[in-house]
Subunit: 147 residues, 2 copies
C-alpha cells in the first residue's frame, strides 16, 4: 500500500477550513463545482463530478475542526477502497492540514498524476479560504496531458 | 521506505525539459536562483540553496532527453541518501515527467510538506519551459507556515 501525502497551511481558523471540507458549498468552491450530497454526517455520501468522471466519498469519521475521513466508494478502479484523510491543527495564525490519500495498491502512473492534482487542489482550497476564490474544476489548474 | 510521486506534462520537446534539469541556468529558473555546480556530468554535484538551507545533489545517471537521477549528499537529515528521479517521455506535443523523490525512511510531517513543495516547483518548471517564466526560490509559492 502506498500513500499520497501533502501539507498546506491556511491563514484562517480550523472552523473555516473544516467548513470548506464538510459543506457542499465549500467543496464546490475548491475541488469541483459539480459537488452534491452531504459531508457533515458520518455515513453520508458526497458525489464529486468532473468533466472526465468522478468520485463518491462516504464519510467515515468527523471530529469538528480537527478531522475528516472519507472512503472512496465509487470512481476509478484505483481509487475504490482508498481513504482520504484530513487532519487539521492550529499553529499560530494558521490551520495546518496534513493530507493523506491512503491505500493505493500500486504506485501506478495515475497515482503520480493524482498526487500533483491533489497539491494544486489543496492550493485551491487555501486560496478559497484565504482570498474567497478557489480554482475548482472545470476551471482547475492543468498539470499534464491528462489534465 | 516511502516515496513522493508526481506527474506533469510540458508542451515542449524532451530536450528543452532535459536542459532545464541539467543546466545551472535552467535549474535556477524554476527551483532556486541560488544554484551552483554542474548537472550535465555523471558524478557532478549541484548545490541548491534556499533562504532556510539547501541541498547538494550528486548526479548518478543521465540519459539525454530521457532520464536524470540525483542522490542527495548534503541537506536536511531526512533527505540524505534519498534519490530524486526524473523520467521523461514524449506524448503527442507534450513531454511527460514522471517524478519520484525516493527512499524516505518514514512518512514524517516534513515529507508531507516536501511533497506539496515539489508539486509547486514542478508547476514552476512547467511554466518556465512553456512561458519562459518560473517561480524559483526565494520568490516561490508558499504552501504552508514552513513555506
Amino acid at each position: 500500500m502506498v500513500d499520497i501525502l501533502h501539507r498546506v497551511a491556511i491563514k484562517s481558523s480550523p472552523a473555516e477550513v473544516y467548513a470548506a471540507l464538510t459543506t457542499v458549498e465549500g467543496l464546490a468552491g475548491w475541488w469541483t463545482t459539480d459537488t452534491q450530497g452531504k459531508g457533515s454526517d458520518v455515513g453520508g455520501v458526497l458525489r464529486f463530478r468532473f468533466p472526465n468522471g468522478g468520485f463518491d466519498m462516504k464519510t467515515l469519521d468527523l471530529d469538528p475542526d480537527k478531522h475528516v475521513l472519507w472512503e472512496v466508494v465509487e470512481g476509478p478502479e484505483e481509487w475504490i477502497g482508498t481513504h482520504v484523510d484530513w487532519n487539521l491543527s492550529q499553529a499560530d495564525d494558521h490551520t495546518v492540514i496534513l493530507f493523506k490519500h491512503m491505500g493505493w495498491k500500486e504506485p501506478v502512473e495515475f497515482m503520480h498524476h493524482c498526487s500533483t492534482k491533489w497539491a494544486t487542489f489543496l492550493m485551491s482550497l487555501k486560496s478559497l479560504v484565504e482570498n474567497g476564490q478557489g480554482a475548482p474544476a472545470p476551471d482547475d489548474i492543468k498539470v499534464d496531458n491528462w489534465n
